[in-house]
Symmetry: C2
Subunit: 225 residues, 2 copies
């Protein structure tokens, strides 16, 4: 899978260790379809280059001195170029992974990645693919909201014995999750408080929970709102 376009993929490397930086550059420049246009050893310098070159792909070390990689990514996204970011790191803390991905990274690589593989990742990412290193993939997928409750969505097939919510109840649930009181929900739906309460009660029963907090948390965790 080699990029046969006339235009090579432009890459900027942001990494504080010179040795790693050189290694990355060599590994990538060995490919005709990839062109490392700049290197930076800290985030501030890196952001300058990004603004100047608007690269296709940014290789960003997360453990930078001063402004760290996550902050740099946020700033980078604010600049609104469509550069894709590959987060590079040497550790696999769950919090950092999620932070990186939700801050705009398209890939998460450990630094011990095979250099040839890295070129593949650069190509993938430049096309918009999301690529996650094996050791972090599972923890990331685990952080996704669980959708076990297809059966509770209105109009959906009822897999297990769970009673599905009606359309109206689902509507109430959404307001409930947004933190509205029964009174507010009633106003929103232009019904009496009694009605709102009745709906909430049946929601609690159908969702097998004791109070609205549990209902809200369950709804959010399972991504049904």
């Amino acid at each position: 899978m080699v990029n046969t376009e006339v235009k090579p993929i432009s890459v900027i490397i942001i990494e504080d260790f010179k040795l790693t930086r050189v290694g990355l550059r060599c590994a990538l420049n060995a490919n005709d379809d990839i062109d490392v246009v700049a290197e930076a050893e800290d985030a501030v310098e890196g952001l300058k280059y990004i603004e100047r070159y608007k690269p296709d792909v940014i290789l960003m070390d997360l453990g930078l001195p001063g402004m760290n990689g996550i902050e740099a990514m946020v700033k980078c996204k604010e600049m609104n170029f469509d550069s894709k970011i590959i987060a590079l790191t040497s550790h696999d803390r769950s919090e950092e992974v999620i932070s990186a991905l939700s801050s705009g990274a398209s890939a998460y690589c450990m630094k011990d990645i095979d250099p040839n593989k890295l070129a593949d990742v650069v190509r993938d990412v430049s096309k918009g693919v999301c690529w996650l290193d094996p050791v972090v993939a599972q923890m990331t997928l685990n952080a996704l909201p669980k959708i076990e409750n297809i059966g509770i969505l209105p109009g959906k097939s009822n897999l297990d014995g769970r009673v599905p919510l009606t359309e109206r109840e689902f509507e109430v649930l959404k307001h409930l999750v947004s933190g509205k009181s029964n009174t507010e929900i009633a106003k929103e739906l232009i019904v009496s408080v009694h009605t709102a309460k009745a709906h909430v009660c049946s929601i609690l029963q159908k969702m097998c929970v004791n109070d609205r907090v549990q209902a809200a948390v369950k709804a959010v965790k399972e991504g049904i709102v």
Copy 2:
């Protein structure tokens, strides 16, 4: 990146359209390091083959008749083999993507993928990589819990003006999210109800919300619990 191991990657294809099935098999079998060991046209048949062959990788169509791909994946995971699953589909509904990934898929491919690329994905996935098609990557990343609130976690740097929770408050927050009442929280922490209430009140203020439901939802959405 060709697998040079002696043992090729074993693959099972589960796909109802015969034409697509043949296409997949040809595309993959063209690679020496990949071996399509079985094909099935529905989930039940597929699960039998999976049990028999315990393949490295399963190519699973999501739009199967009868038991759909998601259900099949759940059953497959219950069998506890470490087969990796590639979800294949022709559409990109957000709900389906998240469902698939949280049900155990390691990759999500559109059916119009380049056959050569698919072989790469099979290799990646067999090593544990998570690979997401460009069109679905962004929506998946958006579904990740936002960690904007480093400032609210106890002991973390306070980026913006937000007051961080104390350790104790954080402890209370976790109980709150699990749906416990003030009384229950008090019992859990072996303090009076007044104390629990006091903590909840300061949590509400620090999180800038009006009630415990909003606090719980915010906590879950931002992944700080």
